[in-house]
Symmetry: C2
Subunit: 146 residues, 2 copies
DNA sequence: ATCGATGCAAACCTTTTGCATGCAG
DNA sequence: CTGCATGCAAAAGGTTTGCATCGAT
């Protein structure tokens, strides 16, 4: 935990960005909630609990900065809000989204690689990244709908 | 072409929605550009060429209606605009998006079914739908980057 | 004739930006 | 000290809504 924060702070100073208390507070919240998907607004609410004086614009500006530095990345579950997620190594994953309770389950994509290779051949396309979401009913909601 | 329009108009009247000239104009544009992805604004521009008096609010209201009726569906390529696409049977597909020239190539997903079945087993999740996008370089841009 | 559909403009919501002040380096 | 970062408020951009009018049934 501590060492994640240190390495991210390090990434900031390496790129000559200042280590402000706001940036540290935002990083702390992101790290503490590794697998949560934050909107700017919801992150703002969390950071305010630590530092009531933070401004929403600071959240937006730093989320943009963090995405550029690869500290976070942007998700697009819906097209009226932007969502962000901490981008730790070895956590590349995708989402199963329950359409009933909105729970989001993450999964890895090892099995996808083969499919990608075939796609690249068929369409003469070099794949660099992907975004994959499955929608349906999670184990609990499946039961309820029977 | 003609018969697609008729069947969609039929879907409207079946559900007791009125066949206004605006709705017909919107459908005509969508059908004529089957494989284009429209923002409300770009669809508005096209419809205006046929009917200069149409209002943007009408475009929004009807795109929402058409999505409810399954005539169109919403895409989320980026989270600051909503994009829409005609939803014809047998055209379920996904997208290869070139990060260099923004070209969008569509592909079918037959090979994906097996992967889905495994996911359902592993996570005890009933998959109903999916959204899949691959990002990379298309055949032309691949060459340029060599 | 009725009530849903439309056009316009205003409202809304999320995100971005300008500017004066604050603070890390 | 210097210039980047911040907070605030205003602006921007996309979408939705209220209201009077229009027009399909």
């Amino acid at each position: 935990m501590k060492e994640i924060l240190e390495s991210l702070k390090n990434k900031l100073s390496t790129h000559n960005f200042k280590l402000t208390s706001q940036r540290e507070d935002i990083l702390k919240i992101l790290i503490k909630n590794k697998n949560r998907h934050f909107s700017a607004e919801s992150l703002f609410a969390e950071v305010k609990k630590i530092n009531p004086d933070v401004g929403l614009a600071t959240i937006y500006r730093n989320l943009e900065l963090f995405c550029k530095l690869g500290i976070t990345h942007q998700l697009d579950f819906d097209s009226s809000h932007k969502y962000y997620e901490l981008d730790l190594e070895g956590t590349h994953h995708h989402h199963l989204i329950c359409v009933n309770c909105n729970r989001i389950i993450e999964f890895n994509d090892d099995a996808l690689e083969e499919f990608e290779k075939e796609l690249e051949k068929s369409y003469d396309f070099k794949i660099a990244d992907h975004k994959i979401k499955f929608f349906g009913l999670c184990s609990e909601c499946k039961g309820l709908k029977d």
